[in-house]
């Protein structure tokens, strides 16, 4: 590089440099140390010039540093509300929504078109997605719809009771219960409705998920009901005619019921809320809350179903 260097005579900028250098050398804060210079020689001089003149002097540099740290601090302060990105959104609804039930094709479900004692399980999600409920049109052994009167349901685990409002629809025969077994949380197809033609001794030897335990059968006979809701996981049995109260264990809680409303003018069905225990028992002791609204702020990470929910059909018994 040396070969390209121009030869220069002292210019104004050099004089200015000398003036500045002398000023800095006299300044007590940045005093030129003669002893150091004698010891280290050239290196000290160059470093000294570089630090105090070539670059930017210490206080100016610190002031700038302060400003840059200020921008950095503003950045950190700005990011703080953004940390909410780490908080998982808890899907909750403040209250139970009024939700119209739709058929699988999306049209409103007509109550009078729900088959009585249907072997095909009808399920709808409410109040959050991922929370299935049975929709059943109950009939007697001959397949005629029966009126389901309001009943008082007992929770065996706590001995407390609650009021089941009864069936709705043209024959007051339509009921809806949570399809999550209160024993260990099995969902359809393992838990489903056994209509009268399947609440028979021949089901005792049927394959999963259609097996019916002998105990369930005996309990149904002694309660004088033609059909049951039975869970094939561990054999819990519920009485759909009396608010899904417990017929056989191992469950110690009835299925919560969904409160339905029937609009007689257009035959539509709406879900309004729930009654009974909470679908998901709180706490490690498994003692249920008596308030179904507990489910709404429980974080199950489903999203609210909103104002409509579609029925899906699960055919456990097959075409036979």
């Amino acid at each position: 590089m040396k070969e390209y260097k121009k030869i220069r005579i002292l210019g104004t900028s050099d004089l200015y440099f000398v003036y500045k250098l002398l000023k800095v050398m006299r300044n007590p804060k940045t005093k030129f140390d003669g002893k150091e210079f004698a010891k280290k020689g050239e290196d000290y001089l160059f470093n000294y010039v570089d630090k105090n003149l070539g670059g930017v002097d210490e206080s100016r540099r610190n002031f700038l540093k302060g400003l840059v740290f200020g921008v950095a601090a503003a950045t950190v302060i700005g990011i703080i509300p953004g940390l909410r990105v780490l908080v998982p959104p808890v899907q909750s609804v403040t209250g139970f929504p009024k939700t119209i039930l739709l058929t699988a094709s999306g049209t409103p479900l007509k109550a009078s078109q729900i088959p009585v004692n249907s072997p095909i399980t009808m399920v709808f999600e409410y109040p959050l997605s991922g929370e299935p409920n049975f929709l059943i049109n109950l009939g007697d052994a001959s397949g005629k719809p029966v009126e389901i009167p309001p009943t008082t349901v007992t929770i065996p685990q706590t001995g407390k009771t609650y009021q089941f409002p009864g069936g709705v629809g043209p024959n007051k025969s339509i009921v809806a219960y949570s399809a999550v077994c209160q024993h260990l949380g099995c969902t359809p197809p393992y838990i489903h409705f056994y209509p009268p033609q399947y609440t028979t001794p021949s089901q005792v030897t049927a394959a999963e998920p259609n097996e019916l335990s002998a105990a369930a059968l005996i309990a149904a006979r002694s309660a004088h009901i033609p059909a049951v809701i039975h869970c094939d996981c561990h054999g819990s049995t519920y009485d759909p005619y009396h608010g899904a109260s417990v017929l056989t264990g191992p469950t110690v809680r009835p299925l919560p019921a969904v409160i339905l409303e029937w609009d007689s003018s257009n035959d539509y069905l709406y879900a309004l809320g729930a009654v009974g225990v909470a679908t998901y028992p709180e706490g490690s002791n498994g003692v249920p809350s008596q308030d179904p609204r507990e489910d709404l702020d429980e974080s199950q990470f489903g999203s609210p179903v909103g104002t409509s929910s579609k029925i899906s059909e699960i055919n456990t018994f097959g075409s036979s």
Partner: protein
Amino acid sequence: MSNKKKFSISDWLNERLRLDKLPFFRTPDYMYNAATWLGALVAAAFFWQAITGLILLMYYDAGNAYNSTISIINDVPYGSVLLFSHLYGAFAMILLVYTHMFYNYFRGAYKRPRELIWILGIILLLLTLGTAFYGYSAIGDVLAVSALDVGSGILSGIGLGSLVPVAFGDYAAGNFSRIIGLHVALAALIFLFFALHFFLAEQQGMMPPRSVRPKAPAIYAEEEEKNFNPWWPRNFVYMLSLIFMTWGWILIISNSLAYLSHYPVYLDPFLNPRPAPSPTSPAAATITAYPPWFFLFFFKMADFISSFPALVAVGAIPLIWLLITPFIDRSDELHPLKRKVFTGVGILMITYMIQLTIWGAIAPAKPATPEEITLVFLPPAIIVAVALPFIKPKEDIRAQNRGLGGNMQFTYLAMASIFLLSAVLMFPSPTLLGIVTSLVLLTGIAAYSDKVFPTMKAAGTSAEKATTINVSLERKKKLAEVIIAILFAMSVIIAFNMWTVPPKGFYSNLFGIDLGLIFLMLGTAISLYHYVVYKK
């Protein structure tokens, strides 16, 4: 010094971490410019991807890919800020990887002794594109599923159908575990190869400009390197400014696009940060499937190369070329105009890729006639083949050293790109695009490959420089200081504004724009600080 005992964070850290003894390349003053630091820009984009990607991973549900993507946008606080900037961070990384690669291709940086760094770089390009493919597919929308269908089709088409379950899993049944798994695994591989690539580059040192080392092997002698700046603190400061500026632009662009509407449909692959409809929704039937823009060139090629083995073979040609370049270009010449075959092929690679990408966007899945294909591919080849032999490298370095600003090259390329973009918007024709692109690249290389770094002369010792106090530089530094103070005031205002933006819904992307602006300000403030403190 009389104030030797004064406490300084920098000295405190240095004493404990031995930062000035890090085995990193000592950097000469004339290397503090964006072109030399393109690799750092790629790394900055990659770090942004790692940060946002790991947060997204906490919300992504491989069994429910589409719904969880939509839920990230709508339900997670600032989820759309996160997701859109992850998408455009990937786009930025791909663009920067290509820029970094071609910059070093034209400079001959792959020559001795940097052949292995180059090959690691090509592997990183492939890993980046692979990760991007899986990331794009993880969205689970109708476009993702069609991209996966095409991927499976290509694998089956070249006789590797048995690998489809290995590469993509059971995505058709809605299980995206393998897609997201391989996305993360490939990203981890990028990190591994990046570490190797980086440390090798630091060991060889950055490649000196041709005015310092005109011939390969272009490395600094050890005694020479001793005079340069140690990594701590100057490179650290400069690196921080580049990282924050990169993050700032990624955030600003991605979140602004959330508010952009009314643009031509064919720009959708570039400008729309939102997912397409779900593959199971009725709207999916009305969607013309297109791949992500960085695979549009390949997609367009499929329109006139119908057999999959042939398509893969043609696609592999540029890749093989890039891999073997260090071993066939064995001269010690670094000047692009003294390696005309390689320069010409490089220009054509860029031109064809841009052409095919735009062509794929304006005429997706439309068969091309032989005449059209000729009109697209022949003119750039003729232009390069005819013009390149006539452009002579200018031998005398001193004669070239006229006052071109340090960033002229970038200004030129940026202006040319804007011109190109507007030309394409007005006359979307791949033929015209090919002619203009090849001409821009040719003139760019002809005019600027001889440019000498303006600070090159200042390679002496620091004392020599200190003897001249540049008055106009002092004035510029004063201005820089004023700007830093203004940036501080503005950043405080923006920081407070960020507290008022709602975390969900339409306005939430304003948070992303704010965050981008504040990062950009921080990067700029650090860069100006670097200028004031170190510029000589």
